[in-house]
């Protein structure tokens, strides 16, 4: 951004900057409307539909897609897969930004955002799954922050502080995986309390398991997707190791994703069997469920496998995009499309354009910060002072 353009003498008005700038302006206007007019002025939420896009996308999808951080750090530090080391920092950065933006988005969604610390400071509702989600997200955001600090510390040249944080790596990684297991699954468990509102094909006692397993899938696919994008837009920032490991990461993570998708497919089928919900498959919702299960679980499982066998990195990259889309669809189904399925069409929810606007705004803010950091800090290359220090 600014520094690059100044250095290379280019204009500030790059297509990215223009579009991002317009979105940010729109977002700021919508923010004013939201906090002066209330939820009624900006959303289509109703008494029947208390949760909309800001929970379905910003919270559920946001947290699921930010899972690359724990998946990659577990692979590298706990499972000893050191050849994926260059995927680590981009994944932790996206994870950290993802969670930070989730928390930002929640300020738009809840009625009294300044009270967001109340569940921890004032009164603890420990019987609530949402308490668990809140506690784990808050703690995990802190963990991701600490995990990320070596990057700015290297950038700023604080060697001793950086080396101190690096010593905590193993502890932080284990803590991060524990917290991620808990809140990824709890996001699914949120809906356990509403069996009478969520369609039986999506409601299952295994919802927490589904959300956790699919978060691994989302994390693996997002790392592949991100490295594709970085390879395209930040190639000049990548050092030889990162360039060389790019395809290794796609092949390795694609293989893992294929396996986890296979497991996910099996537990989903077990869920239908356990609930004996086969007859719903003949209905319209059943057809949509099959689209999700066959089109966005079974198909990418197969495509990943083919891609890995043929060492077809292009196929793996496109499959990653498709898989991420599948996780988005799943979260939308659980929180919006199959939720309140018993209500007449007139009472169903469809997001207001301003809700979509805020979500786009928040994603854009994430992209801008990501770009800012990647252009300055050692994310896609190793800092010369710490080469092979890990």
């Amino acid at each position: 951004m600014s520094e690059d353009t100044a250095a290379t003498g280019k204009s500030y008005f790059t297509p990215f900057n223009i579009i991002a700038g317009l979105i940010v302006i729109m977002g700021l206007v919508l923010t004013v409307i939201r906090f002066t007019g209330g939820l009624a002025a900006t959303t289509n939420l109703s008494d029947y539909n208390p949760w909309g896009l800001w929970i379905g996308f910003d919270l559920l999808v946001g947290v699921a897609l930010a899972s690359g951080g724990y998946v990659t750090s577990a692979a590298v530090y706990l499972f000893g897969m050191k050849k994926y080391h260059s995927a680590l920092r981009p994944a932790i950065l996206t994870g950290f930004l993802g969670y930070a933006l989730v928390v930002l988005a929640l300020h738009y969604d809840v009625g009294r955002p300044l009270r967001l610390p109340y569940p921890f400071l004032v009164q603890q509702g420990t019987t609530s799954l949402l308490f668990e989600v809140g506690a784990c997200v808050a703690l995990y955001l802190t963990v991701l922050f600490v995990e990320f600090t070596p990057v700015p510390l290297e950038w700023l040249g604080f060697k001793r502080a950086r080396n101190l944080v690096v010593k905590l790596t193993l502890l932080l990684t284990i803590f991060g995986v524990v917290l991620s297991t808990l809140h990824q699954s709890s996001l699914g468990a949120l809906f356990l309390i509403a069996p009478s509102k969520l369609h039986p094909l999506w409601y299952s006692p295994y919802l927490p398991v589904y959300f956790f397993v699919s978060s691994i899938i989302a994390g693996l696919s997002m790392v592949i997707f991100e490295s594709t994008l970085s390879g395209r837009f930040f190639k000049h920032k990548m050092d030889e190791t990162h360039l060389a490991e790019k395809d290794t990461i796609a092949l390795g993570f694609g293989k893992a994703a294929s396996f986890v998708l296979a497991g996910y497919f099996i537990v989903k089928v077990i869920g239908i069997s356990a609930g004996n919900n086969w007859h719903f498959l003949q209905t319209g919702y059943g057809a949509w469920f099959l689209v999700e299960l066959l089109g966005f679980v079974a198909l990418p499982c197969f495509l990943y496998a083919v891609g890995v066998r043929d060492k077809n990195v292009t196929l793996i990259k496109w499959t990653a995009v498709w898989t991420v889309l599948g996780v988005v669809i799943n979260r939308f189904n659980v929180s919006m499309i199959a939720f309140n399925w018993h209500l007449p069409a007139s009472e169903r929810y469809f997001p207001h354009w301003m809700e979509i606007g805020i979500s786009v705004f928040i994603v854009t803010v994430g992209l801008i910060i990501f770009k800012f950091i990647v252009n300055r800090m050692p994310i896609l290359y190793e800092h010369p002072d710490y080469k092979s220090a890990h």
Binding site: A40, G111, Q123, V178, P195, K197
Partner: protein, 359 residues
Amino acid sequence: MSISRRKFLGWLAAAGLSTSVTRTARAATTQHFTGYPDSVGVLFDNTRCIGCRKCEAGCNKVNELAAPDQPFDDLAVLDNQRRTSARSYTVVNRYDQVNYLKGPLYRKIQCNHCLEPACASACFVRAFAKSKIGAVTYDETVCVGCRYCMIACPFEIPTYEYDNAITPRVMKCTLCYPRISKGLLPGCVESCPTEALTYAKREDLLQIARERIRRFPQRYVDHIYGEHEMGGTSWLYLSAVPFRQIGMREDLGVTPAPELTAGALSGVPIVVGMWPVLLTGIYAISKRKEKLASEEKELAVTTAVEQAEAAAEAKLAEALAQADEEKKKAIDIEVQKALEEAARPETEEAEKSETEEDS
């Protein structure tokens, strides 16, 4: 047996005073919680309801809610199906064509005050509480406004002040908790002109309801809605027609809401306890594998070096031996040569002297 409200006013005092009993209602215990002893409730009998909306008016008045768009005596409102809203804790709906002989039937909707409320279990700041007297109360001073209570409530009761930008609240019937604590009747019960609403201890209400069904089996369906639904509710319902025909869900089941999430919650400490063990184990295994691999590598290298050295030594020794032999040979040859050389002059000299002697 018809019991007047007045009589229950007396009972109420007893109910209100007997809340000192301490018993905790907790999710996922082996005990089946059937409500606080002597807690109160309301029985709604739709064979007595005339759809006058007086209860709506009474509720609006005692709870000081915003005035409705249409006045409460405008019964045209009943032409549409309504639900609770931020401006009305209770609404009455009319159901035509469910009971041809006796005209329309009505159903009053408000918070059912579950014995184990979904909203209270779902709230992450404990803004909701089931009081000992039976009311499910709401504390707006801690509410964050996440609206998970509205997701959780199987009866779709809580509502939200979406148009309030700064201090929005969840709005729902409180069973007139402030009034009943003082020994007064809930606003709706007080204003009902037909005794379609009966306020009493829940245990007594169940007796009354059973008695009505027993005495007039042709008038009622044999079911007290709320006795077991979602683990039981403080509000109970009698109806002339099956409850689904008056918009009440019969597929909610009898499991109290907290039990639905108890399993997931019980998994939390297990993950906290066991995941670090498992993950450290995986780390240790991968670390050990790495160590073994590097040891093996080292061993392979040393062996290779040793072998190479041994081979080189052998070769050297051989070469040396050969060199020795060759040297020996060379020496032998030299010695031989020297000897031969030494011998030659003698013979030459001898020959010479011989020739000299000859000449």
